[in-house]
Symmetry: C2
Subunit: 391 residues, 2 copies
């Protein structure tokens, strides 16, 4: 096991009607004037935003609003948020939504107290301070509610890049599984896929003998295998929603990823897809992961055989472990299809002729030098082959 | 799943030689004068205490010392620590040792800033403030390095009682698996047993459909089943030590216990044993758990069958699930014996004639009303039978 540090100080309030405590938590964590940040549509229609406003009113906390966050959140709205926070002397950002809204809120939080361009943080500069952020989560997926991470897309060039820092970890996150019950099935499934991707990215490691984190990752994958089809079949199943929601946080606060190298090549390869085609991140991952796994499987057949046996219930072929390893990848594809996820380029409107551009941005954009590194280092030729496997 | 809150803000530094960063972390978390609290013997002999002192010196942090913590830590030393902290204007407590030392440090931390008797906290008063505590862990067992809990024994009447509060959560905990390599095998095994007890106490729930936390608990139990015998056979196995150490923290910071009722009857029944006979807490648990599990098994046979299949690798007897459930308890006993733990009263010097006294203190001491509650409510008659099963 590698040396590591682990720090996850976010306060989680989980369960029914917990969004009504938003005002109380903002006050507890030092907020006196709030930017209420959200997307649109469902948060308003469902009455959630009104309940949150009422909670802030009850706690006598004034707020300004900035809606309009889109999936794959954009830099333009971040700049707008930064201006608004400065003008209004906001000292706390409350995100109401999914990973996109939370990531946008984190970017605004860091940018507001920084003299330069907030994009510096998404180009490698460490985030050292930020306004405090709280979240009210409406989709179990990104894990941003308990992570130090944020991913933003810059309109100019459609560059999708990440930043990270303890300063942008949420001070509190309110997780009410009821809020996810009205999600369209496709979004629920994309969220499930994103959670499983966070687990697989950590599972694919070159660090030896990390039984505890292997087992924890498998536990969360098994939870998704059990609960995913249940929630797709029965969207109102609170218990299934609750299990998925806690698994989503645990999958990404890194308690199951410490002390080991991690992959993240599937995420990097997918980011180019959702940046260019604006598909749901989870849907892009559903297409990407099986291709990547098949391509890199030979690097460590026994690791893929292990997840096949322990998570997918495959019988171990002791004479031909590669058969078991492949069966695990096939089982994952079958699962993804069953919950309604796409498996091919065409299903998200991606085009074969874009592959050279995708590969170039992936391997050379933002200071890259012709390859991406992770479980296996992949050069432009590798990435081209992987994108072609998704056709 | 029940509504819950989860908060685990401790900063963990894990890995080789991390104890040399102690001074830097004390400073980072606001300490300017330290009480260095420890047991004795091995911490001094191994040179650990000297390394920690050097680290404090390097960070220019003055300290006073209080050694002498014993297993099942006593109130007498806590009073002494409180007096010393007040006299010396200590503002940070650094515990170097195992659960006993950390629990003693937590009690001193709460007592120093409280006008009344610190024992009030161990009689039910909530802990609202305390001096900050840091830890350098030397045995994977109690989980106190990442928990808000402390257990102290009051000499008068040998009452062993717990207190809890976020104020006594360690600000940082340094976990170096190397420090556990010199432990006698018996203490290593007792630690493994304690960790497994923290998992079983959470596994035995009356809350339905908590798949995510069931799976996480099973993951950590499976880790112990894999690593326990490895570390007993090969005490210098760093990887096994590291997996056990992280599992020990995760087993008790409650990330795998949220949203569900928990048991803790085995702990309560055991506490009377270690209070009266001063046995290792883990050893007492090895004797207690199989008896408790066998006694309460009929309350939820399928839960015991589940852990038997998923953790102990038993084949499910679909016609007679109780056979599988029993096989899981037997497998646990076999495991405990294999790592060198006792299974009977005689092995820890406990006596049948003491049972009435044990039961009376358990069920009626400290304000009890003739029973203890958990997975199953147990009255004096139940507890008498359970203690007799340990003979």
């Amino acid at each position: 096991m590698n040396n590591f540090t682990f720090y996850s100080p976010t306060y989680f309030a989980f369960g029914k009607e917990t969004e009504n405590q938003a005002g109380q938590y903002v006050r507890q964590f030092g907020g006196s004037k709030v930017l209420l940040h959200y997307g649109g549509g469902s948060v308003i229609r469902s009455g959630l935003l009104d309940r949150v406003k009422k909670s802030l009113d009850n706690a006598q906390i004034p707020f300004v609003e900035l809606g309009g966050v889109k999936p794959n959140p954009r830099s333009g709205l971040v700049y707008e948020g930064i201006d608004l926070c400065r003008k209004e002397n906001v000292d706390f950002i409350l995100a109401v939504g999914g990973g996109s809204t939370i990531d946008s809120a984190k970017a605004i939080a860091a940018g507001t107290v920084y003299d330069g361009d907030f994009w510096d943080f998404y180009s490698g500069k460490p985030i050292e301070k930020a306004l405090p952020v709280g979240t009210i989560l409406t989709i179990a997926a990104a894990g941003s509610e308990g992570s130090p991470d944020s991913v933003i897309t810059k309109e100019e060039g459609m560059l999708k890049r990440g930043a990270s820092g303890n300063a942008i970890r949420p001070k509190f996150s309110i997780l009410n599984p009821e809020l996810t019950q009205t999600l369209p099935a496709y979004q629920t499934a994309a969220g499930i896929t994103d959670i499983m991707a966070h687990l697989y990215e950590r599972y694919l490691t070159n660090t030896k003998e990390v039984e505890v984190t292997d087992r924890l990752i498998e536990a969360l994958l098994l939870t998704m295998v059990h609960e995913g089809p249940r929630v797709i079949a029965d969207p109102d199943n609170y218990e299934a929603r609750a299990n998925i929601m806690w698994a989503g946080m645990m999958a990404h606060n890194n308690s199951c990823g410490v002390g080991r190298s991690q992959d993240w090549n599937s995420h990097n390869i997918e980011h180019e897809l959702s940046a260019l085609y604006d598909c749901a991140h989870g849907a892009g991952l559903a297409i990407t992961m099986p291709a990547v796994f098949s391509y890199v499987m030979d690097h460590d057949v026994m690791r893929f055989a292990k997840v096949a046996v322990r998570v997918w219930g495959c019988q171990m072929d002791f004479d031909h472990p590669e058969v078991t390893a492949k069966a695990g990848i096939e089982a994952f594809k079958t699962f993804l299809k069953a919950i309604g996820m796409p498996l091919t380029f065409a299903e998200i409107g991606a085009k074969e002729e874009d592959i050279p551009k995708l590969v170039d941005t992936l391997c050379n954009g933002n200071g890259g030098n012709g390859s991406i590194s992770g479980f296996v280092t992949l050069n432009e030729d590798d990435c081209t082959k992987i994108y072609k496997m998704m056709l």
